[in-house]
Each structure stands twice: as C-alpha cells, then as structure tokens.
C-alpha cells in the first residue's frame, strides 16, 4: 500500500510516495536519495542510521515512514553543504575521530543533539549521548575528545 508522506527534511518540505513497509531510513536513502544516512544493523542496535526527528536522535531503521508526517527530520546533509564543515565534523577531522567513517554521520547527529541540549557536557555526558552509536573501529577516545573540544570552543569556561 502506497501513501503520500509529507514531512520537513533538512528544512525543506518534502512529499514522498512511501510504501507502508518503508522505514524512515528507506524513505531517506531510497526515495529521497539522501545516502549520507548509513544503514548498519537495521534493528536498532548500532545507531549508524541516527537522524534527528524534531530535534531528538532516533534510529531511522526503527521508524516507519508513515510515522513521520508533520515531523522535522535532520540528516547529515542538513548540517553542511559539503564545502564548509559543521564544527562537529571539523572537530572529528581535527582530532582524528574518524577511522572508516561509517558511524560518523550518526555520531555527528547524536553529538549535535547533545550540544544543543547541553552546551557544556561532561565526558560522561558525551559517552552516554553516543552510547547508542557503535564504532567498530573503536575510536571512541578521539570521538569524545572531538565533541568536548566543540563544547569548549562554543562555551568557554568562565
């Protein structure tokens, strides 16, 4: 069964013909060709497909396309046009916080949601915020450093 789904993706209203079985991940990657969002485990364990839904990180593989009408979705494409990097992306580059890079889009969006809600997180806050994003290269230390550096630059200690 196909249904028209209208939602906001990266600030732009989009209407897509979705199958009732499509997940938000499939809507983004296959219908809208926004392939920056990666498919990992497809069962909600790895966090690779993390996007922001009304500002909150969710696993796109666990949301049905038919659940998103009226919602605002932010994907990695919404953070940067590719020319100038978002500060979180730049920090991951500067700190060597990417290895294979597959988990990176999800990590960036989890970090963005954290910093939007909590501009001065502790290391424990950062680790909790990205606990649902698995990095199989296990470069967590540098990822945490990168996120902490963004926070420190944006909200210097008084």
């Amino acid at each position: 069964m196909k249904t028209l789904v209208t939602c906001t993706v990266n600030g732009e209203e989009r209407t897509v013909l979705a199958d009732s079985r499509d997940t938000l991940l499939e809507l983004l990657r296959e219908r809208l060709r926004l392939t920056g969002t990666k498919e990992g485990c497809s069962n909600g364990n790895c966090g690779t497909c993390t996007v922001l839904m009304d500002g909150a990180p969710v696993n796109a593989c666990l949301v049905l396309a038919l659940e998103v009408p009226g919602c605002a979705i932010t994907t990695i494409e919404g953070l940067s046009d590719g020319a100038a990097l978002h500060p979180i992306q730049q920090a991951l580059v500067d700190h060597g916080g990417t290895q294979c890079g597959f988990c990176t889009p999800g990590i960036v969006l989890s970090a963005k949601a954290l910093l939007d809600a909590n501009p001065r997180p502790t290391d424990a806050d950062i680790r909790h915020a990205i606990a649902g994003n698995l990095c199989r290269c296990t470069g967590y230390g540098k990822i945490v450093e990168a996120i902490a550096a963004v926070a420190a630059a944006a909200a210097p200690e008084r």
Partner: protein, 293 residues
C-alpha cells in the same frame, strides 16, 4: 517485511475499533515491534499507531499526587519529567536504562510492558510502587495491577483488541520510603539485563521496615516478586546482615534458566548481590532524607 495496513487513530475509541479488526498490533515507539515484524518474529496485518492520541503520550500529575503516564509516552519524556523524577526516582532512572538515547527517544513504558520481556527494565520499579495499568477495549475500560499483566515471555493479560492506555502511579507514600532498581548487563550500555532487582522499603516511626517489595527481572518467565525476602524484612531494622540475608532469600525465590546470555547459577548469584545492593541504596536514600534539615 510483510504487507500491513497502517492506521493512525486520533482517539481511544478509534484505536479500539482499529484493534478489533483482528491480527492488529499496537505501535508505540516501535523499537520492539518494527524489528519483530521485519524479521518475521511477529505477524501483524494491521499496525495501529497510538502516538497521535494525546492521552497516550501525556504524563499528568493526579489530584492525589500520583501520576498518570500515557502508555506511549517515551522513556525520555518519563526520565525528563521533573515531578515524576522527584517523586518516583526509581521509575525515572529505570526509563534511562532502556537502550541508548535513540531508543529512549522512541521506546515507551507501555511498549516495554506489552512486549513482556522478562528483562524489561521499566517494569520492576513500577511493580515495586504497585502501579496500575488502565486498559481500554470494546466493552470499556478496566484497571489491573501491572504485576498481574504478565503471562509469560511476550505474553500479557491484554485481550485481543485491547490497548494499554496508561500506567497509574499511586499517591506518594508517606515519608521514609525509598526505591531502587539495579540490573546487571555484561556490557555497560546497550545491553539486556541478565538479572535485575528492584526494591522498595518504608520505615515506621521506630525505624523498622513497615513495608517491603522486591521485584526480580530476567530470572523467571515474567517479572516476579521475591516473597520470602519481602517477609524477612518486615518488622526488622535494616542492617547489612539483614539486607544480605534478604538477598540470599531473593535468590531462592528466583526461577532462572540457563541460556546463551547467562547460566542459571550466575543469575541466582546476581539476584543475591543486586537485591542486597538495591536495599542498601534505599537505606542510604532514607538516611540522606533524614539528615535534611
């Protein structure tokens, strides 16, 4: 994934009508249902999304000081609710144990109950506080203790066509009452408990335990009470030796199995340790409360 009809009711009456159509599954956060349907572990010819019904996602303070938690309210919303977190910290903290942030932003307490996993992290604290489930069906509403909802792994007492509407937490206990849920997972985050224990105790004016509830997770086909441990505590002043004895009794009340995640013996040992530690945490909370001016 199989074909299914997707419905998005705006009222409980519409939801109940949609659920009555047979082979329907209620959808809250979808963190269990969607992978189950995709992997063919559950059939659903009709999926009824409950999140557009305001009552299902609301968290309300009741006139008696208790709380009404909409069954589809997210774990994040439960954890963030300041009043709930202050009155029922064990419930709010348990909600923060379900998966990672992405899961907590979708998963609901109602879904955690209705999925009926013996390891469900939100459930033991709710049973400790004698939470009640409000259920709607074609013949109206009924109320059942959350404790009485579980029939076995993946099975609840909800009848075909019924939906869980909300979870009621009673008026807060008088002073000198505390609760705690502890679980053990082989990994620190993103893992399923191989054993869990929630404890709730109330002290009388003399400092003796007047009421106690101990609820165990992952050590039986459903969440279970530990009655012999509860009985042992009543009328006694909490001492480290007493709490350890209660832990040993709770281990005896557990009915664990061995599976890929843990042996039964290890689960039983964990119950003893987690129960004693959760009780000790309750005692620390009560001491801190007593020390406040």
């Amino acid at each position: 994934m199989q074909e299914f009809v997707f419905e998005c009711p705006r009222t409980i009456d519409e939801a109940v009508t949609a659920m009555a159509a047979g082979d329907a599954r209620a959808l809250a956060g979808g963190t269990d249902l969607i992978p189950q349907v995709r992997e063919g572990r559950r059939q659903a010819w009709r999926i009824v999304d409950l999140k557009r019904i305001p009552e299902l996602t609301a968290i309300a303070v009741l006139p008696n000081g208790g709380f009404c938690i909409g069954a589809a309210a997210t774990a994040s919303a439960v954890a963030r609710h300041a009043g709930l977190a202050a009155t029922y910290p064990a419930v709010a903290q348990s909600a923060q144990l379900i998966g990672g942030v992405q899961i907590q932003n979708r998963a609901s307490l109602g879904g955690n109950i209705c999925n009926a996993a013996p390891s469900a992290d939100a459930v033991p604290a709710l049973i400790c506080h004698d939470a009640q489930a409000v259920i709607a069906g074609r013949s109206g509403r009924r109320q059942v203790a959350v404790e009485a909802l579980f029939r076995g792994p993946g099975q609840t007492a909800l009848e075909q066509g019924e939906i869980l509407v909300s979870i009621l937490l009673p008026a807060p206990a008088a002073a000198r009452s505390a609760a705690k849920y502890l679980r053990f997972t082989p990994r620190r985050e993103m893992d399923i408990a191989i054993a869990g224990a929630a404890t709730c105790i109330s002290l009388d004016a003399q400092g003796a335990i007047a009421a106690a509830r101990i609820v165990l997770a992952s050590v039986a086909p459903t969440p279970i009470r530990a009655p012999s441990a509860e009985r042992r505590l009543i009328g006694e002043r909490p001492t480290p030796a007493l709490l350890e004895e209660a832990g040993r009794l709770a281990a005896g009340d557990a009915r664990p199995i061995s599976d890929t995640r843990s042996s039964a013996d290890y689960r039983r040992s964990l119950v003893a340790v987690l129960t004693a530690r959760a009780l000790a945490d309750c005692c620390r909370q009560l001491e801190a409360e007593a020390a406040q001016p």
